[in-house]
């Protein structure tokens, strides 16, 4: 993927790898979403989402050995997520933060990181041609954002395939949610229409590969 001149690699996990800067980007981790729903008593999700998400980040760290890790906001599901997180998970996250230059981008769910899990925190980050922020604004080129949890659907030989995806038109990029329980919004939704040029691509996360599909081929979800 080429975004505003930067060559990026979409990982099958939904993370973004920027080889030139050895930087790993993850959007919308929503840690402790499971426990948030459980304590609210509304939905019913098993309490292992944080563990699963951390395990995936650890695997990425082993694979890419990043210098910098950026979490693009909504990393924690709510303000109390830190206090609900079991101790062993907390220690694992601390180790990850210590292993790299870790950057929290503030999101609407988590304006500040929980106590004990602090790292550099900012609303927006400029690195070379790229600008990292949580909510896409659609103004500056080189914008890398999350927040929308994009998903795309395509029909091939009668089978309909629906997957999470990266969305990019070469100018800006919206990342899929990384978290275990994050839902999704169709890339054909108006929310994307105002951000991208008409001929954008959805880089769909398949089983083993990330594959680009033209907007014209996509179907509404």
């Amino acid at each position: 993927m080429l975004v505003n001149g930067a060559r990026l690699v979409g990982d099958i996990s939904g993370a973004l790898w920027w080889p030139e800067r050895r930087t790993l980007v993850m959007a919308d981790l929503h840690l402790e979403k499971g426990s948030a729903y459980a304590s609210a008593g509304t939905a019913l999700l098993p309490p292992y989402d944080t563990r699963t998400t951390l395990g995936r980040i650890e695997a990425l760290f082993r694979r890419y050995e990043p210098k910098t890790a950026i979490c693009l906001g909504d990393s924690f599901h709510d303000g109390k997520a830190g206090s609900r997180m079991p101790d062993d998970d907390r220690q694992r996250l601390k180790r990850l933060i210590a292993a790299t230059e870790w950057i929290w981008i503030a999101g609407n769910h988590d304006p500040a990181p929980p106590r004990g899990l602090e790292a550099r925190t900012t609303g927006e980050l400029h690195l070379g041609p790229l600008r990292f922020r949580h909510v896409p604004e659609g103004r500056d080129p080189g914008e890398i954002a999350g927040h929308l949890h994009p998903k795309a659907a395509v029909r091939v030989r009668g089978r309909r395939l629906v997957h999470r995806c990266f969305v990019t038109d070469g100018i800006r990029l919206v990342m899929p949610a990384f978290g275990a329980y994050a839902g999704g919004l169709c890339v054909l939704d108006e929310a994307f229409g105002s951000l991208f040029r008409r001929n954008f691509h959805a880089w769909m996360l398949g089983e083993r590969q990330v594959l680009p599909v033209q907007a014209a081929r996509l179907e509404p979800i």
């Binding site: 080429l2 019913l44 309490p47 091939v156 030989r157």
Partner: protein
Amino acid sequence: MECLDAASAGASVLLIAPTGGGKTLAGFLPSILELSRRAPGKARKTALHTLYISPLKALAVDVARNLHQPVAEMGLAIGVETRTGDTPAARRARQRTAPPDMLLTTPEQLALLLAYRDAGRLFASLKAVVVDEIHALVGSKRGDLLALGLARLAVLAPQARRVGLSATVAFPDDLARYLSPTSPARIIVGRAGAPPAITILDSSARLPWSGHSARYAYPEIYRAIQQSRIALLFVNTRSQAEMVFQELWRINEDNLPIALHHGSLAVEQRRKVEAAMTKGKLRAVVCTSTLDLGVDWGDVDLVIQIGAPKGVARLLQRIGRANHRLDESSRALLVPANRFEVLECRAALQTIAEDLLDGEPPRVGGLDVLAQHILGVACAGPFAAERLYDEVRATLPYRGLTRDDFDRVLDYVATGGYALRRYERYRRLRQTPEKLWRIAHPGVARQYRLNVGTIVESPMLKVKYRRGRVLGEVEESFLEQLVPGDTFVFAGEVLRFEGIRDVFAEVSPSDDTEPKIPAYGGGKFPLSTFLAEGVRRLLAKPEEYGRLPPQVAEWLRIQRWRSVLPRADQLLIETFPRGGKQYMVAYPFEGRLAHQTLGMLLTRRLDRAGFRPLGFVASEYALAIWSLREATGMDALFAEDMLGDDLDAWLAETPLLKRTFRNVAVIAGLIERRHPGEEKSGRQVTFSSDLIYDVLREHQPDHVLLKATWADAATGLLDIRRVGDMLKRVKGHILHRRLDRVSPLAVPVMLEIGREPIHGEADDTLLAEAADRLIDEATRLV
């Protein structure tokens, strides 16, 4: 009369008689006699005397009506009431404090009644339990639930005798034991009616090789309708019903009143059709299994089965819908949709002539149902694990239940199992100092009442006109496959799909003549093992081909000349090249589900052995797999160890088990059907059950609900049991023929390629087709 003798002796009986034998009334007669002998007196305290349980709400209501009449005519003061999900809450509450003499209800309502603290008082007076259409209940999870409920009744009302009413079945002894486990019921077989007069449509039109529409026969079917008073046309799926209905109206020159009836239609619509039928206002009704059971719907004199019967017992039940008089033959016409179905119909006739019946032996009780029951028992009052275990094990479905499994189910009900222990909401039971189990708080009982039952509907959405009436319901999974603008046939009309709004699928009328036929499932019965064997036997007897329609006999003769026809104990496998690919066609005759599972497993094996398989397609009778290299070594390929590692590896990946798990999770109370005051949408249920499934697989693979899921899949969706039996049967009996081109027997399944979804292809392969490789250049231009 025999029934009365047994009753006066307080013995339990199982009354087996064909439909129309008046057996329901026979079941009630002893109770009516007893109640009529009661000393008259106004101050009598009301007490429940007879409990009647039916698989259908409608049947309970109908039987109540049929009882009111004679009771009123004889001037008897006997209270008869129904209790179903439709009964107003006030009346239901009153029925517990001041019960009628006779209460007519369903298995779910029985479970609810048993879970009240006053259950003991309510049932203490009970003298008789009548279970209607018992054969329709035993083979299902509802049957498990009822068995457990009956075991409870045996403790609360040991004096009550039992009466089971059943159609003719293959395993009467098991039914008797199911009805009354401690002292098996006496079996009374009613007088057999005149044998049915069944014919297979001998069409002059060309018989299709494949397909399920039976389109070729519509003119002849229409003629049969013209010549009868009321005809019932049974088909196997709802989409077939829609299609047949459409096509018949297209040629309905006399404007005969022909109606449609299936489970997806709005209830009011169905009731309207039923009422019209009872009044004799209709000439024909196209229907699915919704009209298989129970209630009499009028003066039906002809039953037409379109498509293969799939099982003899079901066929007889359907044929019994015609002419409810014992002395006259029921008339039936079988209309096979393709050549293999001709063989199946023939095999069915042969079986009926030999007076044999198919039918699955009784099932092993589901652990999910047991979990629901345990919670229900706890709602009624504290219990001791040992006593409950003994009680449960006395039932037929759970006679083989180990103490270990029971304890694990109990632990699940009490805590959720260790993977879910962290959740407060799963702590539903706690132990008293006396080591009795009781519910943790009153909310548990409320939740139980809202979630009782074993029927888990697939998520459905209502179909409605944009600003208009609701037409019925369709599976959400089907609608998700549609894009606005797609057309489909539903409720007898061609509709244009406009989109999903809230809980409705909005549609508008369409002039399309070539609609996208609904693929919504519902009532896809697998070919019965018994009938499959009949088809294999028939194939192996060339001397009997003369009795088949000439086109079919010719087809088989050419097959014998070009390839071979297998003996009844052999599995024929043909391999041949075609269009640059290598085809392998096997003929196990084990039904589509088993063939699909077999196809998945075989493609894995072929892949590992380097044959480069590309895809497969499964029909009821055969399986075709194509690959780049010709497959060899059939004995090794079809070896029984296929069900070991290959199966495990596949199951780890397939989403099919998740669907099964969803049902299990709902029944076992892990996921709630609905919260008080709010209905949970199917999508939400699927969402969270998938996640829990993944978590349990990863963190507690031996969780009791995964075990239950596996047991369900083995007999249901994946039919692993049947694949296993087949592999065992064909060991050393594989007949492999290498051909230079396709054989006549292979044509039907080869024609399915392109019509049926192709399996075995990974998402990524398909996705790669949609992806464009030029993306890098395209973005570089920016």
